[in-house]
Subunit: 221 residues, 2 copies
């Protein structure tokens, strides 16, 4: 589906965007995901198209059926695990449901396999627990939300967990702190892909006050 | 559906919350709505349940069918116009689709009728054009997003349009500036309903840096 792009995994953002194909952002949905973990980043990735860099936003769930968020609203999925091929950016949100999904072997295996094929792997909030359980964060730096920090870091002793960080970039893996932090991180991903001016334009179009410093974390204890 | 609550329209937020029923937040969805206009506020309204004030989040569209946002992701609706009764908080998002919907007589008539029955009427971004077209903003103060400001204010000459405002409260009507401003406004609505401490707790749980001053608008020209 995106072999040209995946092949450029080790190159800079500019190489990634040299293809004329849109980057595919696949967001994993599972029951009781957290709304803004998903839709904050997707707002920014979606708005990017108005500055000539459209991304293709897709939802994937285990069965491909509709998935309800923990707050209630339901989203339609584009793919099940079995009919999904690959993506450029794999995004794993957090939410109450992550407490169940860390024990869902089919989901963890899918995340592990897709993480190896994706150019970038991204988690928001307790999505980091799912990445850790899938061995994606082994020997990487990472962060997660404040309230569930101890629970999440229990899934990977070999990860360098940052307690004070809005988000952490570790090679091609981005992990953010809780809920809203994912939106700031998504603009940093756009900056990496398309440059600072591009990310600032997206923030301006959405009238979003972007915290562009990953170390500026007012919620750290 | 919520007659006890609607009957308290003229009272303070504390009276509204004296009922044991959850307040119903009905968000109007139409093709090409903007993601964060909807899901920023719903994140905050949803998180409120962890501080003992749950709100019931529902989606309504003209036909009740699935609705696609302008960025692609699709949401499942709970009601069509014909099977929807009433709500406590009516929320009208913006998005590219608002350019079409201002000419959709059935939608405008529905917004007008529901606005008269709801306790609070809320718009984000160009959702204000729909409210203005439905005569909801007549003799009220209001704002909208920066880029479409001239277009939106053309729908109501009798509205006092605020060009510099993160959001505007005018009696029971809240209108916000572009996209992300709706999230700040939604916390101000929670503050009105349940107090400042409650809203601050919701912001803290979501690791959200709340701009709680409606006049603090860094995007005004």
């Amino acid at each position: 589906m995106s072999n040209q792009i995946s092949a450029s995994k080790q190159t800079s953002g500019k190489d990634v965007t040299s293809t004329s194909k849109k980057l595919i952002v696949a967001t994993l949905l599972y029951p009781d995901f957290e709304l803004m973990d998903v839709f904050g980043p997707l707002e920014m990735f979606g708005m990017s198209r108005f500055i000539n860099q459209g991304l293709d936003l897709k939802f994937v769930s285990q069965t491909g059926d509709v998935v309800a968020s923990s707050a209630g609203p339901k989203s339609v999925c584009d793919y099940s695990f079995s009919d999904f091929e690959t993506c450029d950016i794999l995004m794993v949100p957090g939410g109450l449901g992550s407490r169940q999904e860390v024990n869902n072997k089919e989901l963890i295996d899918w995340v592990q396999a897709q993480s190896e094929r994706a150019t970038y792997v991204v988690s928001v909030c307790t999505g980091a627990a799912i990445l850790a359980q899938a061995d994606v964060l082994t020997n990487h730096c990472a962060t997660t939300n404040k309230i569930a920090f101890d629970w999440v870091q229990g899934f990977s002793a070999s990860t360098n967990w940052h307690k004070k960080a809005r988000w952490v970039k570790s090679d091609n893996i981005y992990t953010s702190s809780g809920v809203s932090a994912g939106t700031d991180m998504s603009l940093a991903i756009l900056e990496h892909l398309y440059g600072r001016e591009h990310a600032e334009k997206v923030a301006h179009l959405t009238e979003y006050v972007w915290n562009h410093d990953p170390d500026n974390d007012g919620f750290a204890i």
